[in-house]
Symmetry: C2
Subunit: 227 residues, 2 copies
């Protein structure tokens, strides 16, 4: 297809496509004349991935380039490619790494991962994210031991093995797998967070909706002053 058709099929404007071509994010089309090139399904798939990284992953162009390079490097395993994308879209950690507290929180995070027996790269930024939230819990006097945190680990592992990894298309082009991972990580993460807060409301409604801390008449219309 021509660039105009690629634009129509992808929903990406022609000047933006030309920008991606100049930046090397999109490989050149097959030159059919001095001023024309032909594009194919690969280009369309690549544009979908760029759009997912940009609009949903909210990545800057430099980070998108690193993900694309990993997708293109056929010596890398799919695990490595998915990891590159996942680390790129992770929220930046600004560790309050000024003291002993931070070192202890890091040790706790590592110990928790060890206890779970999960295979996590020693340099994974996700370890620092976990240490940061453990540090915040400790500072606010909330429990941050295994008993408090392991229910979240088992909930997440169950969701990932029973559902999420099954919907990643691993047998097709790598672009499709990376796109599914990025969209799934961000958007389904949002879905899970929303469902959790909806569940809080629903469960709270069943348990507490009719409890009041005073002894006022529950049949009052609630418009009167308290007490």
């Amino acid at each position: 297809m021509r660039i105009s058709e690629l634009s129509a099929a992808s929903g990406v404007a022609i000047p933006t496509i030309k920008y991606y071509l100049r930046e090397g994010l999109l490989p050149a089309g097959e030159q059919t004349s001095a001023t024309r090139a032909r594009y194919g399904e690969d280009h369309l798939r690549r544009l979908r991935l760029i759009r997912a990284l940009l609009e949903v992953g909210r990545l800057p162009i430099a980070s998108i380039r690193r993900v694309i390079e990993a997708v293109d490097d056929k010596t890398l395993s799919l695990h490595h490619v998915l990891g590159t994308a996942q680390y790129a879209i992770a929220p930046p950690v600004e560790p309050d790494a000024s003291g002993q507290d931070w070192a202890e929180a890091c040790a706790r995070a590592d110990a928790l991962i060890e206890e779970l027996g999960w295979r996590i790269d020693p340099a994974a930024p996700t370890r620092q994210e976990l240490a940061q939230v453990i540090l915040t819990l400790v500072r606010l006097g909330m429990p941050a031991d295994g008993e408090a945190l392991l229910p979240y680990a088992s909930t997440a592992l169950n969701l990932v093995t029973e559902h999420e990894m099954r919907v990643i298309p691993v047998d097709g082009p790598r672009e499709a797998a990376v796109e599914a991972l990025v969209l799934g990580t961000v958007l389904h993460g949002r879905v899970l967070d929303i469902m959790r807060r909806l569940a809080h409301e629903s469960v709270s409604a069943r348990i507490f909706a009719d409890t009041r801390t005073d002894t006022s008449d529950d049949t009052s219309d609630g418009t009167g002053p308290p007490g």
Copy 2:
């Protein structure tokens, strides 16, 4: 205790405590002389709650005041008070409410909640959050039907009923329940998101770490050029 002791016990600076007193977020202490007042456990608990709403919930003072007013209004059920806090800390939705798409996404969100049989206020902002993410999924060509989203609902409901609602202290002062809800919603939400991404990495390592899309020798040291 005196204001200096309240400051030491709470970790909140004296000028900040005075600011909360002026703003009415913290009730006045018991006046013991023209220039001195005595403070108690209630003040300490209130300061903890303000700090949680401010530092973890990231609420502006006006929103904190609304939550505090609900805590103080003894005619409101605990469910109502928890809901006020939960809605206040929810991320703002900026719905792309320009067309038919948005109306359809809202209808889908409502239908999903109806199908779940959850008790959710018709005006809950969480409904709009759900509609917004459904709209994004649809626009990106991802499944957004019950089959795709119900696993997140059942995962969340299980976590909330089996674990989260059990750690809310509902028999003590309302401040403590609201503080636990706010800290739990934000910080445990972050824990769940991090655990989910760690689980992705671990499961991906087990499944894909040794797969490559070309047929290169797996025993190579990986430093050579591809192909």
